[in-house]
């Protein structure tokens, strides 16, 4: 990436056909929609994109679809995480070859990894590719919690240049700034922390919300950027119920349900994931009506 990444980093879901195959055509359309709305970057194969539930072939198809469709209009961050180092390197090389701007890696765990193992894992990927690596910390999904000290150490690996922090604790971000300097490129991955994180100095906000409320997401980022605190607070509380909802019920379930309510059929989730329960869909409908995303009854 020539310029540092800033702003709203949009995470597309991975849509499926009724037969359960990746729906590449619809994925391309969803990417178009988010780009048209003005998001600042695209990040396929995140948690939202159900990365760990896809086969290697599917992962490559999703990466290719998104990177090609974006076509360099904005940066692309491709998720390449895998339990083994060998598969992570494989996908990272594939993403680089496709022309991705950067790769994003969450150190996944079954057995808890030692710090030495985590460092060696990132080192191996860093030696295999020339594009930047964004480190993604999310104990709730990956099962490993990297403290600020470990993250600071990983940021010393030459092309590990960005951090997505998803613990939802703004104090972690404060510590990162203290340990790495105020120029540290950290991004917020916990939706309800968007305001606090941007105020604390986050360069961007990694979120699946632009599938549904891209303008509100971008306006919040813009308000903080221009120092409009009152505006930022108002925009934040306006979209907060939606952000809380999608986090509480799982991004793939919640975003898929929202897209269906908005009229786009995105297909079944991959089992064991199931669609949002009916009563939850009604709660979501109320939130979307209130946000004027869909018409009221």
């Amino acid at each position: 990436m020539s310029a540092p990444l800033r702003g709203i980093v949009a995470y597309p879901i991975t849509p499926f056909t009724e037969a359960g195959r990746v729906d590449e055509r619809l994925l391309a359309k969803l990417v178009d929609d988010m780009l048209a709305a003005g998001v600042h970057a695209l990040a396929p194969l995140g948690s939202t994109g159900v990365l760990p539930y896809l086969s290697d072939d599917e992962r490559e198809a999703v990466a290719e679809t998104v990177v090609k469709r974006v076509g360099g209009r904005v940066p692309t961050l491709v998720g390449v995480s895998s339990l083994t180092t060998e598969r992570t390197v494989h996908h990272a090389r594939h993403a680089e070859k496709l022309g991705a701007s950067a790769v994003m890696i969450i150190p996944m765990s079954y057995w808890k990894l030692t710090d030495a193992e985590i460092v060696a894992h990132f080192d191996a990927v860093a030696r295999a590719i020339a594009i930047p690596i964004a480190l993604y910390n999310n104990p709730a999904t990956g099962g490993l919690d990297l403290g600020p000290d470990t993250i600071a150490r990983l940021l010393q690996i030459p092309n590990v240049t960005m951090v997505k922090e998803s613990t939802g604790d703004v104090n972690r971000m404060h510590r990162l700034v203290q340990l790495c300097g105020e120029d540290v490129a950290f991004y917020n991955g916990s939706n309800p922390l968007a305001l606090a994180a941007l105020v604390a100095g986050a360069r961007g906000w990694c979120t699946a919300a632009p599938h549904v409320i891209p303008r509100l997401n971008i306006e919040l980022y813009d308000a903080v950027t221009r120092g409009d605190l009152a505006g930022a607070r108002r925009l934040f509380y306006r979209q907060l119920p939606f952000l809380q909802f999608i986090v509480a019920h799982g991004l793939p379930r919640a975003i898929s349900a929202a897209l269906e309510l908005m009229g786009t059929r995105v297909g079944p989730l991959r089992a064991p994931l199931q669609p949002l329960a009916r009563e939850r869909v009604e709660e979501l409908r109320t939130i979307l009506v209130d946000l004027q995303v869909i018409p009221g009854p």
Copy 2:
């Protein structure tokens, strides 16, 4: 209180003579110092003031000293918490008689209290006095964690009108605003959360830091109030190491050590509390030198 309380609510320590008795004369001087620096309210008998370690007589002496010394120049919030309802009512009545602007109550626990017990506890105090009650939530000291729903319920008791939230999780504050409306009078009690909380809409910041850095505390509050985000962020990161230090090592220990480094002998802590360990004092000295609170070597 006629006007709603806003700004920096300063928490004095309780100084002791060498013989271990409350040093009322020095307490009055410490209050004068904080008032002279411009704090917006005084809150004796908080956690910083080692409330639970004092006898009933000592508590009354501290309350009287501070309320009289403030003399109405700013609001006073007097801590009146006790394990039993009867003692809490007793101290609340005493504070009211002294002319305190409001009382602050943390529901202390040995046995975890049920919601019904907590409500009845506050109800009993509310019926006994006519001045406002600030509810204080701090599971790390009080041993009970009141969720936003419970807090919202307690705020329906007529003169329970304020909340001090000290969990250090800004999401709790968001929930309070959502449950009670944006006019809910909540205050931040977790020092390292000062910026995030004020941005989220906190009316004030309850802190012992004005013993040491009152101007930085007030300037941070002022910067957020006038919407100066860049200034607020700079002021916040400037004072953050001090805020983290005093939280990490216990407010009475850390503030007492800071005052001693600044030249004021505040006496022994009450056992089992002991003075800050020697190597910690040196860390603190470095922080204070960096903040230009004390001269460097």
Copy 3:
């Protein structure tokens, strides 16, 4: 104590008159009942005895009532914990003067204590009295969690000779045995862990259950002592629902309700503690009927 303490250590509640004063006459009768049933020791002023909710005078009256009533028939362990070291020493001396066999101390916290502070606290009490001290670890009430290493260190203080472990984690007990040798005098304070703890080598079981099911408690202890594993397991599962219930709902609330169901009026709890909710009382009734403690409908 001449002989090492072993077996069922019974914790009496503190009964109150309708006017809310300690009911010393009833307390003496409750002690008689437990002694008649065969318990191996009596421990007034525990958590069950609502120690922290009593005034100094009330504490002394309870200690005196129980120690005198027991009259040396079995050992007495008197709870003397207080937030301050000075008050703890005061109550420990009083207990010794009364003729208590030992004192029990939970390091209570408002401010989390450092290890050095905890050691100094126990040291101060140990220097002040000549009778043994039992260390009580229960983070759920006291707010401090002493790890096995800290406990092992405290057991090096000359007359700190016993440990009551109430975390409910049998692994803590394994560690104690490993650190201090198999002769370490540890006692179980988590009712549902009674079987696992005795099997792991606990010398006794500290429990309020003998107010209600003393024979079952004693028989379980005896079964483990004589190596009757099948019998112990049967006895354990038989009484487990009662043990789980009293822990889940708070010992003072649950034991008081059980005694009332059994026909003994024990008076109001001290506010903010309230009587067990009505629907819980019905659950408890079912358990007691099943245990044949009270007749069925």
Copy 4:
């Protein structure tokens, strides 16, 4: 399985050649060793066998090697867990075809699964095969914690007939017995809980320790079975340091290191997993010398 499974269920590691391929020949030998020592069942492709780090082909090769080598001498439980339902069904069918006695499934998570999703996941596998399913609960690795109520519900699915509980909390086992009756077939998966679990009624102990101390494992099981409490306690504390060590440092790392110390080269771990750190190996050596597994210096 004709007879209900009882006793020591041994978990083999998956050894690798120096080139990083599964070493089927050595795996067969390790199985032989454990069978010769008298273990009661074999469970390939558990956490110890680094199941999630293997490709589908490797998983099938491991299952085939072990099931064939055991040749019906004892029951085999084959791990078939996968993030997706489709892959889990695939591996379950393969195991059944091979002649496995049962399959073992841990509900793995990236996105936390709802109870409905977990039930549907097990339902799908149960409909696909005719052999019994053992449910495996281990939040520390799988990332999902199934409470006793959820487990009881899953045990109502026709051929989900066994539970391996690895939370290390004996209270979970008590609850299972209460919810499902004393005939519930539960197995302990937390090594340091072996004694408490067997005493609580566990039918067996799932462990990788028989690679190193099979006789001690079997003798502990036998002692509890014949009601020899004193013997069981002695045997338990004897092997506890080893059990604690292998849990603290990760079973594949620790067991591989132990086998190497015993003279069997088991090859590299699969990255990102790395061999036990050198200083840890020395700790382990001391433990093995003390257990007379290897000769002292």
